[in-house]
């Protein structure tokens, strides 16, 4: 009470009446959320926010991309390497619709984003006004939450909710659509209160001790337990808890595409990759384990193959933060609902250390066979023409597994994921669930902003790179230190592989021509070179990594090389083919 009396009354009065615009509230809210980087593109309906941004340039760094899709993929890359929420600005109409692919990608890969779109004046809503589109309804299926703000007084609370929803529980993209009148409108701003609770929203399900006990019991009695893990480990920041769990239990562990880098690839219990182009042992032994422990993964069809031939013999323990994932695809024996950061230590405590070396040896035996049949040939193809795997192998040697690898979608993505070495978490950035070609280049830009001290290498095919190649302009403007490797086989390789294997080699529209990528890069003042001969590969990669600033390396690889092993569509994981 005393303190209040001592305060000069005029000061509180002034604070109460100070009016600021909705646009400024947007920026003040972002600063309160410790946002430093925004990826965006201006336009008519978001101009007031950009006008306000002019004065906040010292606190908020805005990266002007070349296309809104580039902005959202960059924000995804940023979120994936930093573990923070990525922020995007876009205008109404086409600006907003250009975000849809990225929203869908972030939704299916659980990436936390807050996208702010401008919208026409509230009184024009529904009149087919210039650049008006029903963004809320267009984005509803691809956002964790979205909301349209029509009054400036709603902005601070809405953004607080947006950040809370985007980052809590199972993360995901949130879109806030703000009408132009709300951006201009002046209202009293008393400060920003972060959101910590929404009555109707349960970010984390209940951790139930009885399920922990039941899971521990199953695992302790198992003869051939097998851990499969996904991005949940990374999103839950539970890498250490996970490592402790597998090290104490001695259980072999395999990763999904997005789980990659949660556990160092060189860890003795890391047995490799799951799924359609995953490793031999991890796929085959899924159908021989007696207890399958799935952690922070969602049994995607690219992981399971045919469900009625997937781990039918196994009891399944599923740890997930999202209750909707339990029993969605694979029937669970024991569901361990909750944040794996909390559930893993509880489980570890109950686990008895057991010797699973004979079982682990089974994985090693399969690995040996895979090495003989596939990997050794991938690394030493003979002949004059380079193979994608050789490039990754050489890159591993030079980076020591410390680089952030950002991949696009297709054959090179599978090769890079299979062979890239990782020593640190949050190092693998790829479009997993949606399979968005064109993801790598913009995502790599964001990845560099999210992890400025690390080497970021984008790997793309000749098809995918051409989908978002305009983002070379962003790299040029901000001198973003992104290394770009284009594995050019002059084909849309993955589709061509399928056409070869399943459509009698009827190569329907997969023969794609490319510009001179090095010349294109030069046009953007980005250094680059092209490698054709094996003898030049390592020195060129070294030049790329040693170069200060962005660098584009085009590597010509075999036109009709295939990615193996492969679980053909409609087959069980046990039917994986080595050739």
């Amino acid at each position: 009470m005393e303190a209040t009396l001592q305060q000069p009354p005029t000061e509180t009065k002034e604070q109460k009446v100070s009016l600021i615009t909705g646009s400024e509230i947007v920026l003040k809210s972002l600063i309160s959320e410790k946002v430093k980087t925004i990826f965006g593109y201006p336009g008519g309906a978001i101009m007031p926010i950009y006008d306000a941004l002019f004065d906040y340039n010292d606190q908020l760094e805005h990266i002007l991309v070349r296309h809104e899709q580039g902005a959202i993929h960059a924000a995804q890359g940023f979120a994936r390497t930093s573990g923070e929420v990525g922020v995007v600005f876009a205008t109404s109409g086409p600006g907003a619709t250009n975000l849809v692919t990225g929203l869908a990608d972030a939704m299916i890969d659980s990436t936390p984003l807050v996208c702010i779109t401008g919208q026409v004046f509230a009184h024009l809503l529904g009149t087919d006004a210039f650049q008006e589109t029903d963004v809320i309804n267009i984005t509803t299926p691809v956002t964790k939450w979205n909301y349209q703000v029509t009054d400036a007084s709603e902005i601070a609370d809405t953004l607080a909710k947006a950040f809370y929803i985007a980052r809590s529980g199972r993360p995901g993209p949130v879109l806030i659509d703000i009408t132009k009148n709300a951006q201009i409108q002046q209202v009293a701003f008393i400060g920003y209160t972060p959101c910590r609770h929404i009555r109707s929203y349960r970010p984390k399900p209940i951790v139930r001790q009885e399920y922990i006990d039941a899971a521990a019991d199953l695992i302790n009695k198992a003869e051939r337990p097998y851990v499969i893990f996904g991005q949940g480990i990374i999103l839950g920041k539970a890498e250490e808890e996970f490592k402790t769990f597998i090290e104490k239990s001695g259980i072999p562990a395999a990763w999904t595409l997005l789980g990659l880098s949660a556990l160092p690839t060189g860890h003795p219990l890391n047995v490799g990759m799951l799924g359609m182009h995953g490793n031999y042992g991890p796929n085959v032994l899924t159908n021989e384990c007696d207890v399958l422990i799935a952690i922070g993964m969602r049994f995607d069809d690219r992981v399971t193959g045919r469900l009625d031939k997937y781990a039918r013999q196994a009891k399944v323990v599923h740890l997930d933060i999202d209750p909707a994932e339990i029993d969605k695809n694979v029937k669970t024996t024991v569901p361990v609902w909750g944040d794996c950061k909390e559930t893993l230590p509880l489980l570890t405590e109950k686990i008895i250390s057991r010797d699973h070396s004979a079982w682990l040896q089974r994985f090693r035996d399969f690995a040996k066979e895979e090495y003989k049949e596939v990997i050794s040939k991938d690394f030493n193809p003979g002949g004059d023409i380079l193979n994608m795997a050789e490039v990754i192998d050489a890159l591993n040697e030079l980076t020591g597994g410390d680089a952030v690898i950002v991949t696009d979608v297709g054959q090179h993505q599978m090769v890079a994921s299979r062979y890239a070495k990782f020593t640190k978490s949050k190092s693998n950035v790829t479009s997993g669930g949606l399979g968005t070609m064109g993801f790598a280049l913009p995502a790599a830009i964001g990845a560099k902003f999210g992890a400025p001290d690390r080497t970021v290498v984008a790997i793309a095919g000749d098809g995918g790179i051409q989908m978002t190649i305009q983002e070379l302009g962003t790299i040029m403007q901000y001198q973003t230190d992104v290394k770009i490797i284009i594995l050019n086989n002059n084909f849309l390789g993955m589709v061509r592989q399928w056409q070869e294997l399943f459509n009698d080699r009827r190569y329907s529209f997969v023969d794609i021509t490319s510009p001179d990528f090095v010349q294109v890069a030069k046009g953007y003042h980005i250094e680059g070179e092209k490698v054709v001969a094996r003898t030049d590969l390592k020195s060129a990669l070294k030049r790329m990594l040693d170069h200060s600033g962005a660098y584009l390396l085009e590597v010509i690889v075999g036109k009709e090389n295939n990615v193996f092993p492969m679980v053909p569509q409609g087959c069980g994981v046990g039917e994986i083919r080595l050739k």
């Binding site: 909301y147 910590r196 109707s200 209940i206």
Partner: protein, 196 residues
């Protein structure tokens, strides 16, 4: 598993766009909604959806989990028909001349629990409330007399074993934000109504 009728009850915040968010959970999976009703609930500010679909329990369970995942949904659960008390209301418009001359109106009304809502020179509107078979039966009866118009409302349903949502909501609100452990204590008590 065989398909049967399930009534899904959803308690939600009153939020623009939520109807769409819930509806697309069904349409995305190409599941037809047989009946959908939104109404206020016993708690001011909280809305209640009743959704009827014909599906297997496995599908319904997955749908309910997807619905409950939505930020503004407080709770969703599903019931078979024998677990709920439900009603649908129907209106029937028939020519007054026909119905007055040819049918025993009084008997009609008594047998079908119907009421005459409007009686005009040109037409009469009857109303009846009940299960679908009951409202459908009256169509059959009125058809020979030149049924001009028929409309049936969505299903409204109340769960037999539920103690209502009010107490639970108060518990929701009483929980201090943040502490996950506290929330668990409370959720563990709610076995009876809570679906998960």
């Amino acid at each position: 598993m065989t398909k049967q009728e399930y009534t899904i009850t959803v308690y939600t915040e009153n939020h623009i766009g939520l109807l769409n968010r819930i509806a697309i959970i069904f349409s995305r999976r190409k599941i037809n909604i047989d009946s959908l009703n939104t109404s206020p609930s016993e708690i001011p500010g909280i809305h209640r959806f009743n959704i009827v679909i014909d599906e297997t329990e496995e599908v319904v369970q997955k749908l309910v989990r997807q619905i409950e995942k939505q930020v503004e949904v407080l709770k969703a659960y599903y019931n078979t028909n024998d677990e709920i008390i439900w009603q649908e209301m129907a209106l029937y418009k028939v020519p007054t001349s026909e119905i007055a001359e040819k049918a025993l109106v009084e008997r009609l009304l008594r047998e079908h629990g119907a009421n005459a809502v409007v009686i005009r020179n040109d037409y009469t509107v009857f109303e009846t409330t009940g299960h679908r078979e009951e409202t459908e039966k009256l169509i059959k009866v009125l058809e020979p007399f030149g049924l001009i118009e028929f409309v049936r409302s969505a299903r409204v349903a109340i769960i037999k074993s539920s103690k209502g949502f009010h107490e639970k909501l108060q518990e929701f609100e009483s929980i201090e934000p943040g502490e996950a452990v506290k929330e668990n204590e409370y959720l563990n008590q709610a076995e009876e109504v809570f679906s998960m």
